[in-house]
């Protein structure tokens, strides 16, 4: 079976600075895959490259077997890739409702949009009473939920989430992961998620990649890495 996303030997440079030094990874349909690694490892760059926000210097990206390396973000959004970037990037002067609906304007299945919206609001009841608020007034956790909801409204096949737990209370993070899993079960969504810490990820992910200094140091099934020792080594770069 062709993987939903495959990255082959991807290099990314930002004006002289190297962010990715040749990484390869793949995500199968309906998987939850996590990339973990310290700050500056290249996690955000990887997700941005898949979503078309960063142009690779070398290597290739495939989505459903088609090469999409040079596609821009708009086209990739149409194909079914949606990114929830780090820092959430909510349109703070738009209302919560407007934020949600921005993602739906390219869709042609007008009836399904309404149902999707209502189902989302069932998942995120905290947004319902704030629908007409400027989104900038939401709390961090609510903004994260809105950012995920907004991405879901594009009806993606692949959802990329960059550090969903950054700056949020553990309880909220747990809620977000519960919802993410529900979306996977219910909508057949595939998820590629960046995180800095490994404990939570081990619980929720099917597979894990450890990224450090632009290289993939380790990858494997979450079940096989449960004890955390190999992840620790890969993450910090210790040798035994």
């Amino acid at each position: 079976m062709t993987p939903l996303v495959a990255i082959d030997d991807l290099h990314v440079h930002y004006s002289g600075m190297v962010a990715l030094r040749g990484i390869s990874l793949k995500v199968d349909a309906n998987e939850i895959v996590c990339i973990i690694g310290p700050n500056g490892a290249g996690k955000s760059t990887t997700l941005a490259a898949i979503a078309g926000g960063v142009a690779p210097t070398k290597g290739a990206i495939y989505f459903k077997g088609t090469e999409t390396t040079d596609f821009g973000p708009e086209k990739l959004a149409d194909l079914g890739i949606s990114l929830v970037p780090e820092g959430r990037h909510i349109f703070s002067s738009l209302s919560v409702e407007e934020n949600l609906m921005i993602g739906s304007y390219r869709r042609t299945d007008k009836k399904a949009i309404r149902t999707d919206r209502d189902r989302l609001l069932d998942l995120f009841p905290r947004l319902v009473e704030r629908l007409n608020y400027p989104a900038g007034r939401l709390s961090g956790g609510e903004q994260q939920m809105l950012a995920i909801g907004r991405a879901i409204m594009t009806k993606p096949k692949l959802l990329l989430i960059d550090e969903p737990s950054l700056g949020l209370a553990p309880k909220i993070v747990e809620q977000i992961y519960t919802i993410v899993r529900e979306l996977r079960e219910r909508d057949g969504l595939t998820l590629l998620i960046n995180e800095q810490s490994s404990n939570r990820v081990l619980k929720h992910a099917d597979r894990i990649y450890v990224l450090r200094s632009g290289h993939i140091q380790l990858h494997g099934r979450a079940d096989d890495l449960k004890d955390g020792e190999r992840i620790r080594q890969a993450y910090f770069g210790f040798e035994k």
């Binding site: 002067s93 934020n99 921005i102």
Partner: protein, 304 residues
């Protein structure tokens, strides 16, 4: 008191012109981070489109002599096409360039348009009589109110309402607001960047057309540099109002109109020649107190 009210009407009318121009500049700045100094020259194009292309000193009406229902759409079309051409030919290739590069490019566009008009129409200002009957006045108590000033204000309010309705209630308006807040994020959600920018150029072209017609009727002259001071004052209005904030641009436009008119009226005779100097000095004072402008744009507010 009557005198002050009389000047206030002038100020509102001039402020309307500046506000419309500032809206055109502010809209593009919001979405593209482009300070478009060529916006003034779009106004010039709209004015020159009224007359027959020729370097004769006496202007002969061309589109300007058409029926108003044909003339206004035609001028709109010409200015909008010109605005879109500047985007496609100049600003689109510079999409990834830094703001200062875009600013310099807009100066280049401005000079190209001015010199193009200079070549075709000649350098002398020409007298153009558009909608003469609007220059009549009627008396209201001791006040004399030129109909044109009422029309200017009405058109301004009308266009602002249309813009508000467009931005608030239509899907393209919402996409424009989203893109002007976070362009890349909007693209990630499938919003077409070039389309939304094109739309902003179309709207700024329409706003420029309105200014062309109103301003030409008022001054009854066209010259190839007529748009330059308008763009300059409107730019100052945008800065004073708060960059990246359309309400601020409008408020800034009226404020500048008010300052200029009142200084012209109340400065001692000897100093009136330095009116703009006083106006800009006041602008500097305002910016010293409120560096982000009167209505700070959302881009200057730190997002947490």
């Amino acid at each position: 008191m009557v005198e002050f009210l009389q000047y206030s009407i002038d100020a509102l009318s001039l402020g309307s012109i500046y506000a419309l121009t500032a809206l055109g500049i502010g809209l593009l700045f919001g979405i593209l981070r482009l300070i478009n100094f060529a916006h003034g020259d779009l106004i010039t194009i709209g004015a020159y489109a009224l007359i027959v292309p020729s370097s004769n000193v006496a202007a002969e009406m061309f589109i300007g002599s058409f029926d108003i229902y044909l003339m206004v759409p035609l001028i709109c079309l010409i200015v909008v096409v010109a605005a879109l051409l500047t985007d496609v030919a100049v600003f689109r290739p510079l999409r990834r360039a830094a703001s200062p590069t875009l600013l310099i490019a807009s100066f280049a566009v401005s000079y190209i348009i001015q010199n193009g008009i200079l070549t075709i129409y000649g350098g002398r200002a020409k007298s153009v009589n558009l909608w003469n009957n609007l220059n009549q006045q009627f008396a209201w108590g001791d006040l004399r109110i030129p109909i044109l000033q009422l029309v200017t204000m009405a058109v301004t309010i009308g266009l602002m309402l249309c813009l508000i309705i467009f931005l608030r209630f239509t899907r393209y308006g919402k996409q424009m607001r989203a893109a002007s807040e976070d362009f890349r994020m909007a693209q990630y959600l499938g919003v077409r960047g070039n389309f939304v920018i094109g739309l902003a150029f179309v709207i700024s072209g329409l706003l420029a057309t309105a200014v062309s017609l109103l301003y030409t009727t008022q001054t009854a002259t066209v010259s190839y540099t007529m748009g330059v001071p308008l763009a300059l004052f409107a730019f100052v209005a945008v800065v004073v109002g708060g960059m990246g904030n359309l309400a601020g641009s409008v408020i800034g436009g009226y404020l500048i109109g008010f300052l200029v008119t009142m200084l012209q009226a109340y400065l001692p005779q000897d100093l009136r020649g330095f009116r703009d100097c006083f106006a800009f000095a006041l602008v500097i004072l305002i910016l010293l107190v409120r560096p982000a402008g009167l209505v700070p744009g959302r881009n200057t507010i730190e997002r947490v």
